[in-house]
C-alpha cells in the first residue's frame, strides 16, 4: 500500500494548509479557562514539510494590508488594521505612548507662593497641564542649550486673592503666554549696567514668538481652560514663570502625547451547532453586549445568529454552563487589530499615528546606518 501524505489527499487544496491547521494559524481559540494558539506562526519554514510557504515578504504584505477608519474626531479615533503582525502593532502602540514628543512645563520659577499648595506640588501640577501647540515647531533642548524661542515656551501665572474677598480657584485660563520670553530679571552684581537696555532674564529670545505665522492669531494656551491648578484663600498669592520644553513620554509621563492608545484583536464568534428555540433565547439573554440575535426560520421555530461579533468583550458568559462550549466558539483573528487612539489635544490622532510610524522608520534607518 503506497503512503499518501496528508497534503496529497483529494480534499485538501494544493499549496494551502488543511482547514484545521489554517484555523490554528489564523485564530486564537478562547476556551473557558485560557486562550490557545496565541502565538503567531512566523517562522518562514514552519510548514515546509507539507510544502506550504509561510513567509510574508514585502510584496505580499503590501497586497494584503488594509486600513479602515471607523471613527475620527478631533480627540480620538478608532480604526482597523488588517494583515499586520502583533509585534508591529505593539511597536506603534509603544511609540504612541512613550516616544512621540510633546511640549510640557518643566522648569517653574516661583517668585511668590503664599498658597497652601507647596511649591513642588504646584510645579508638578503645572507639568501635567496639556499645552495645545504643535511640538514639531520646536526643537529639543539639551543641557548645554540656553532657553531661546526655538526650544522654550514661557508662561506666566500671577494670581492674588484679595483680603476680605471670597476664595478663588486658579484655573488654567490664568496661565498667560509670554511670546517675548521670560520677564524675571536675573540678579547681577554689576549695578552700573545701562538702564535703558533690556534687563537680562532667564531666557534669551532674539525675537518674539508671535511673529511666527502659526502663533500670530492663536496664542499658545492649555488644551482645556478649566483645569484647576490651585485654590487660594484671602491674602494668598501665586506669582511664577513656567518654561515648557519638548520631551518624550519615556522621560516623564507628562510628555506623553496620547492620554492612551490601545488595540484589541477582532473577535470571531462562531456557532458550531444549530442553536434553536429555548436555547436560542437563553443564548441571546446571556450575552451582556448583545452579540447574538434571534432569527425566525418559519414554522414558529427560532434560531440564534451572531449579529455583532465586533462588540464581544470576551466575558465568556456564552460558554459558561453545561454543554455551551460545544455550541459556541469564541475566537480572535490574529492579524486584525482594532486600534483606538485618544489624543491629549496637542495634535489630532491621525497625525499622531503618522508621526509614530515615521519614528519607527527613523529607528530602522538609524540601525541600518550603524551597521554599514
Amino acid at each position: 500500500m503506497s503512503r499518501v501524505t496528508a497534503s496529497d489527499l483529494p480534499d485538501v487544496p494544493k499549496g494551502q494548509l488543511p482547514q484545521h491547521l489554517e484555523l490554528q494559524r489564523t485564530r486564537v481559540l478562547c476556551g473557558s479557562d485560557a486562550p490557545t494558539h496565541t502565538e503567531t506562526i512566523q517562522y518562514s519554514g514552519a510548514y515546509a514539510s507539507i510544502g506550504v510557504d509561510n513567509s510574508l515578504r514585502l510584496e505580499q504584505f503590501c497586497k494584503k494590508f488594509r486600513v479602515e477608519v471607523i471613527r475620527l474626531t478631533e480627540d480620538d479615533m478608532e480604526f482597523d488594521m488588517i494583515g499586520i503582525d502583533p509585534s508591529i502593532a505593539n511597536a506603534f502602540r509603544r511609540i504612541l505612548i512613550a516616544e512621540l514628543p510633546t511640549m510640557a512645563i518643566e522648569k517653574v520659577l516661583i517668585a511668590n507662593n503664599t498658597s497652601v499648595i507647596q511649591d513642588e506640588v504646584l510645579a508638578h501640577r503645572l507639568g501635567l497641564v496639556p499645552i495645545k501647540v504643535d511640538p514639531r515647531l520646536f526643537e529639543f533642548m539639551s543641557e548645554n542649550d540656553t532657553p531661546n524661542e526655538k526650544n522654550t515656551i514661557v508662561f506666566k501665572l500671577h494670581v492674588q486673592c484679595k483680603r476680605g474677598g471670597p476664595r478663588i480657584t486658579v484655573k488654567t485660563d490664568e496661565l498667560k503666554w509670554l511670546p517675548n520670553g521670560g520677564e524675571f530679571p536675573i540678579a547681577t552684581l554689576n549695578h552700573t549696567s545701562n538702564p535703558s537696555s533690556r534687563p537680562k532674564t532667564n531666557t534669551f529670545f532674539t525675537h518674539s514668538q508671535d511673529s511666527l505665522p502659526e502663533f500670530s492669531n492663536n496664542p499658545i494656551a492649555s488644551v482645556h481652560q478649566d483645569i484647576i491648578i490651585a485654590k487660594l484663600g484671602p491674602g494668598q498669592e501665586i506669582e511664577l514663570e513656567a518654561h515648557a520644553v519638548k520631551g518624550i513620554g519615556k522621560t516623564h509621563a507628562k510628555w506623553s502625547s496620547v492620554s492612551t492608545a490601545w488595540y484589541r484583536m477582532l473577535p470571531d464568534v462562531v456557532l458550531l451547532q444549530e442553536v434553536e428555540d429555548e436555547k436560542a433565547e437563553e443564548l441571546v439573554k446571556k450575552c451582556p453586549v448583545n452579540v447574538f440575535d434571534i432569527e425566525d426560520i418559519g414554522n414558529g421555530k427560532k434560531r440564534a445568529i451572531v449579529a455583532k461579533p465586533r462588540a464581544c468583550t470576551l466575558c465568556r458568559e456564552c460558554i459558561r454552563g453545561e454543554g455551551w462550549e460545544k455550541r459556541v466558539a469564541l475566537r480572535r483573528v490574529k492579524d486584525h487589530f482594532i486600534f483606538t487612539i485618544e489624543s491629549t489635544g496637542a495634535l489630532p490622532p491621525d497625525v499622531l499615528f503618522t508621526e509614530a510610524v515615521k519614528i519607527l522608520e527613523e529607528k530602522c534607518e538609524r540601525v541600518i546606518t550603524e551597521l554599514s
Partner: protein, 99 residues
C-alpha cells in the same frame, strides 16, 4: 556592535538605546526571511537600554540578512503610513463635516 566568531553566518548584534519596540519588530521581519535558521532577541538587564539580537542564517552573512530585514521593516512602515493616510482622507471626504 556585532559579536560573532570568524563564521559570518552567525552573529549577535548589540544595539544601544533600543527596547522591545524595535527588537520585536525586527525579530518578526527576520523570521519571515527564508534564509534565517534562528533569530531571537534578549534584553540583558531592564535598567540598561540595550538589546541583543541573535541571527543565524543558512549561508548568507548575518549582517546582510539583518540589514535586509530592517529594510523590509522600513518598507512595511512606509506602506502602513501611505495606506493609513489614504484611508483617513477617504474617511474625511466621505463623512459629512461635523460642526
Amino acid at each position: 556592535m556585532e559579536l560573532g566568531s570568524s563564521d559570518k553566518t552567525k552573529a549577535t548584534f548589540s544595539l544601544a538605546d533600543e527596547d522591545h519596540t524595535l527588537a520585536n519588530s525586527v525579530r518578526f521581519a527576520l523570521n519571515q526571511d527564508p534564509r534565517v535558521t534562528f533569530c531571537g532577541y534578549s534584553i540583558p538587564h531592564p535598567s540598561d537600554a540595550r538589546v541583543n539580537i541573535r541571527v543565524q542564517t543558512t549561508g548568507d552573512p548575518a549582517k546582510e540578512v539583518l540589514k535586509d530585514a530592517l529594510q523590509d521593516l522600513m518598507g512595511m512602515s512606509q506602506h502602513v503610513r501611505a495606506t493609513f493616510d489614504k484611508a483617513v482622507v477617504d474617511f474625511k471626504t466621505s463623512e459629512p463635516v461635523k460642526p
